[in-house]
Amino acid sequence: MAERASDRVVRLLGLVAFLDRHEGASVEELARQFGVTSEQVMADIDTLWVSGTPGYLPYDLIDFDFSSYERGVVRLTESRNMTRPLRLSAREGVALVASLRALDAGLSGALDDERAQVVRSALAKLTAAVGDAAGTVDVSLTLAAAPEVAAALATSLREGRRLHLRYVNAADVSSERDVDPIRLVTDTDRSYLLGWCHAVEGERLFRVDRILAAHVLDEPAEHHPLAPGGGEFEPGDDGALVTVHLASQGRWIAESTPVQEVRNLDDGSFEVDLRVVSPAWLRHLVLQAANEILDVRPASVAAEVASTARAALAAYGPLADPARVRPYDEHAGA
């Protein structure tokens, strides 16, 4: 997709401001600084070179040292008063401050002291520059890892070393495996480690809260080419198709679960289609969302979950007596 004009203008202005502060930067250096290709930097310089104040005679234009540019070094000789760095818009400032705060509060377990300090100093400087407008957004990230596990994951990612994991899956079966870590994905609900699992010789996502123990091995992690969309929960075509009919309050399930399709019904309820590879995962989902679930199809799935629930109620014995005194209902949603 072509770059938006507004994004390009910001970079054109950014280049002038940067060159004003760094005399004689190479094209490659500018490309790295602004995260674009060298070709793009040269196209930007060409544009700046013909831009200026009305009249557009030579002394009206932004100018660079030509002989130095021929050697690949960009030297700004005339800025037309455009060297002031552009302030952040309100939304830009808020968005950046909110995610830095979330990194500081939520990811500190996965950062060593030096890195945690860098997050804090960046946050302090940005907050000072943006002012108090940053309070309108509040984001929290959930690492949900034991401190030793978080530290081991962080070390292995930072140093590129293999991990030995003890992991328990959705079916409550634990196993040991060697994993080359690729990345640690953290969102507002929980975290996942994307890694190359040597036990299955493939890319796997591990829920961090199910990693029972993690040890950093001496072996370096091998580099594995990442499949397109790696680390994303894209619902695949494998697995059984299951339809769950949910009450309006169950909207969070559609948001936090990789669903194939959502159908809104007239009465405010809705249906989601899931492709289910792991029956244990589905059983857990249905049990934990049971308050919002109206129906599950096919009926065999509903029967299986209901029988699991009955077995659990039976195990509670007298504590599950239907005539028990029920405490107040704490569940006060919005």
Binding site: P54, E92, Q288, N291, A314
Partner: protein, 351 residues
């Protein structure tokens, strides 16, 4: 032959002209003198182009101000407020820019992602030159998109503008229009929530963004309400905050629920001996009594019911009641097969 000028180039030239103008520039001066505008084939095309360019500059955070001058009749001129143009002095190291890059990539929402990318470009212009960027390699924090209503709600909250929104109530499924003073957007487990003052109900309310139907509309002027006091925000947030840490007591079948056991804490000194309890005693036979710390009773109950009969909540009663309620609802999803009832119970007893 005049070649058509790139929109980015036209915007840049407009900005340079306005920054360098003495006093102000009128629309006519812009059209006659700024590179790119002579391309406009008609008055109407020029008007559209100029309006769009003004909006774009303002969206970028550039303080483009309108000046009317009595000496010039009622024609309107434009200039840049240079006092409000510049980023305050900020001195960022290469490492800090690396962290900011990570922060900018956190947003999954397209509009917000575009905003943070531009913010990063602005900060890179004043940062140190390129340095080690792998400082936070391998970390991928993510904030889910709040949908199409997110950016407009954020703008309204920033501008303190009242919004009209159509909301589907969680409890009843009833759809109704609300007028809300938007205070704060918070990302919590299960998605985005708007905290604000519901003008129709005269009370603090929170709204899940996923239950807002259609688009939202800002109504009235910016600055229509005062910023909420810290106490008001605190009160509105209370429902979304985690409670104080408490301890739950579980009876767990051997070698099961390891992901929960890994969080086990030592038996609190005041914990009763459950095996001696006349009601609970028989239930814990053949099970390990495990203590875990928790903050949210519902979250813990939802986690534990996933283990079926492998985990029983003994205490506290509210967590146990939540778990039992979920199990009862799940049990009702399908009728109990009458003939097989005994078999099911037998299976439970075999563990």
């Amino acid at each position: 032959m005049a070649t058509s000028i790139d929109p980015a180039e036209r915007l840049l030239n407009l900005l340079i002209a306005l920054v360098n103008t003495h006093g102000r520039m009128t629309k006519e001066q812009v059209r006659a003198s700024v590179a790119g505008y002579a391309d406009a084939p008609s008055d109407e095309a020029f008007e559209r182009m100029f309006e769009r360019d003004k909006d774009t500059l303002r969206d970028l955070g550039i303080p483009l101000v309108t000046v009317t001058d009595a000496g010039h009749g009622d024609d309107i001129g434009y200039r840049i407020d240079l006092d409000a143009y510049a980023l305050p002095a900020i001195d960022l190291t290469a490492a800090e820019l690396g962290v900011l890059t990570l922060a900018a990539q956190t947003w999954q929402d397209r509009t917000m992602r575009g905003d943070t990318a531009r913010a990063l470009t602005k900060l890179r212009a004043v940062g140190q030159g390129p340095g080690a960027t792998d400082l936070v390699a391998g970390l991928a924090p993510r904030v889910r998109s709040g949908g199409a209503v997110f950016a407009p709600l954020l703008d309204a909250a920033q501008a303190r503008q009242v919004v009209r929104l159509t909301y589907r109530a969680a409890s009843t499924g009833e759809v109704r229009e609300r007028r809300v003073e938007p205070w704060q957007l918070i990302a919590r487990r299960g998605g985005w929530v708007l905290l604000g003052w519901d003008r129709d109900r005269g009370a603090t309310r929170s709204f899940r963004l996923s239950r807002i139907e259609g688009s939202i509309r800002a109504v009235g002027e910016p600055g229509a309400f005062d910023a909420p006091s810290p106490e008001q925000v605190e009160q509105a947030m209370a429902a979304w905050r985690e409670g104080p840490a408490r301890v739950a007591t579980l009876a767990v079948l051997p070698e099961r629920a390891e992901a929960t056991r890994v969080r086990a804490i030592e038996t609190p000194p005041d914990a009763p001996d459950w095996s001696q309890d006349p009601v609970v005693g028989p239930l814990v036979v053949g099970r390990d009594v495990v203590h875990v710390a928790f903050r949210n009773a519902w979250e813990l109950a939802e986690e534990l019911v996933g283990y079926g009969d492998a985990v029983l909540v003994l205490d506290p009663p509210d967590v146990r009641e939540h778990a039992l309620q979920l199990l009862e609802r799940a049990a009702a999803l399908a009728p109990a097969p009458r003939v097989d009832d005994d078999v099911a119970v037998l299976e439970v007893e075999r563990g």
